[in-house]
């Protein structure tokens, strides 16, 4: 009962000079970060050899699946060609990795560094402003109570909603300034989508914050050179094992059946008089 009667009167100035400014600043910083990330982002450089490498694997996969459409001889030619090419590593982006036995240094290839650099740029762009805002709030507004939630909550939410206020007696529904910051941090996602459109950098910044330093799923995974070697090796094995079952086998009978004509019709007739 005592809890329900707990009344704190908040100065309207807190609303005008703390609650709303924190939110506005966070939205603006999100928008700013979006634009900074766009400036920092290097254009994804595509490499002809990299395209060729993955296209070769796709081609082999296509041959195994829809290769049934082409005549057996054509299939055999392609299979032996691709198999030999894979054996000789002709389609590798960097044929040297096939011969060198030691583990290639992933940092050695400047092209492999690029996704790493992008990841770092993104993280810097998201962490620096968040740290600044957080220190701004803890410096000026620590211990402020900003709003009261209109619904009751269990005690466990205390750590989440009253960060920075060390009392055990206050009702859980009161929200501290630092917690308001965190609520904003994770809750503004849809606002960013509204302002900046889908897949904007501000949103991704929040995600990378939430997931620590883990790369976002959109980031290209770093490919180990050995991995691609294995992929080619596996594909070659699959290709050697592929069985060609011509899809057009018996197509003549299927057509006759489709048109409802028996095979025996017109055995010796050659003219095909249609009337």
């Amino acid at each position: 009962m005592a809890r329900e009667s707990q009344q704190i009167f908040l100065d309207p100035a807190i609303r005008d000079w703390v609650l709303i400014p924190i939110m506005v600043v966070m939205v603006l910083v999100g928008v700013l970060r979006h634009h900074i990330t766009q400036l920092l982002a290097s254009k994804p450089k595509t490499d002809l050899k990299a395209i060729r490498e993955s296209a070769a694997l796709t081609r082999s996969r296509i041959l195994r699946t829809t290769g049934v459409e082409i005549p057996p001889t054509a299939f055999a030619v392609r299979r032996s060609f691709l198999s030999a090419a894979f054996e000789k590593h002709q389609y590798l982006k960097n044929p040297a990795i096939a011969t060198s036995q030691q583990q290639a240094n992933p940092m050695g290839d400047p092209k492999a560094m690029e996704p790493l650099m992008d990841m770092m740029k993104n993280n810097v762009a998201s962490i620096v402003p968040q740290t600044l805002i957080m220190s701004w709030i803890t410096f000026f507004f620590s211990g402020f109570v900003l709003i009261k939630l209109p619904f009751p909550l269990t005690l466990r939410f205390k750590a989440m909603l009253q960060r920075g206020i060390e009392t055990s007696d206050m009702d859980v529904t009161w929200v501290s300034s630092l917690s308001w910051y965190f609520l904003n941090l994770f809750g503004l996602k849809s606002i960013y989508t509204l302002i900046l459109g889908e897949g904007n950098a501000a949103e991704q910044g929040v995600e990378s914050m939430a997931g620590g330093m883990m790369p976002t799923p959109t980031a290209q995974p770093m490919q180990q050179p050995n991995e691609i070697l294995n992929m080619f090796k596996n594909e070659k094995d699959f290709l050697d094992l592929a069985v060609h079952e011509w899809a057009l086998r018996g197509v003549e009978e299927r057509i006759l059946e489709k048109y409802g004509v028996g095979v025996a019709v017109g055995g010796g007739e050659k003219g095909g008089k249609a009337e």
Binding site: T58, E69, E252, V261, G262
Partner: protein, 302 residues
Amino acid sequence: MTTLSTAAARQKLASLRTTDSQTPLTYPPSEIHALGTHLLTLSLPDPEHYALLEQTFTAALDTGNIPSAESLLQKISTRFPFDTSIRTQRLYGLLNEATGNFDKAAEIYETALKQDESNIAILKRLVAILVERGQRHEAIIRLKTYADTFMQDTECWSQLASLYLSENMYEQAAFCYEELLMLKPQNHLYYIRYADLVATLGRWEVAVKYYCAALELTADNVRALYGLRAATAAVLGDGGVEGSKAKGVKSAAVVEAKTAPSVETLHALHKLAGDRLTALFEGQGKDGAELTTVVKSWLQAN
């Protein structure tokens, strides 16, 4: 143009922008140009405005309206300067191509490739210039290196096939169509083209199979029916399947797979193709009367 409301026009042009090369352009460029010029006077959102500028520009080139194209390109390049935007560079190349200045266009494309070596649009333009100039051999060489990297590009394979055809290199063209069959096994036109090719190469049994496959995908395709009629006649005329089996080389593919059809099946197919053709042409009524007699006399001869 007056019949379409602004919203409808926007939608129409947007759908034309997104359609890929597989669907034929059904709208005449002069109308696209007229619609585009009208829409450009309105204040549309930036992305759409510039997409429209580009579309109207190419439509202007298609209609040979060079002054209009130049003024449109001017507007594009003030927003996206020539030096930084490869897309703008490509448009300048197109303008040069339209005015017949191929050397300048090729130069623009080559410098653009130095910025982005894997720009598909630019790589294709370079091939197109060679084709336009009639340098088919060089075009084939260039397209071959392109196909070696972009192996899943159907447009490239069909262009390569048509280039090989004009050089009378049927085996190579057939190879291209085999690639197309694997990439787009649902497209009946590739089956018919491939059947035509192998028929030209004298592999009639294979041709019969592919005409049948085309008929399986689209019932009563007239071209496939004609082909089937001719191909079955050729196989039967060769002294039957046994005769060609004895020759061995010709029908290696069919014999190897042990899928050679029986003589009765071939006869039935032969008759079926004739029946369907007559029925189709007679079904047209009076309009097709003359055609029907022509078809019938052809059927008699084959």
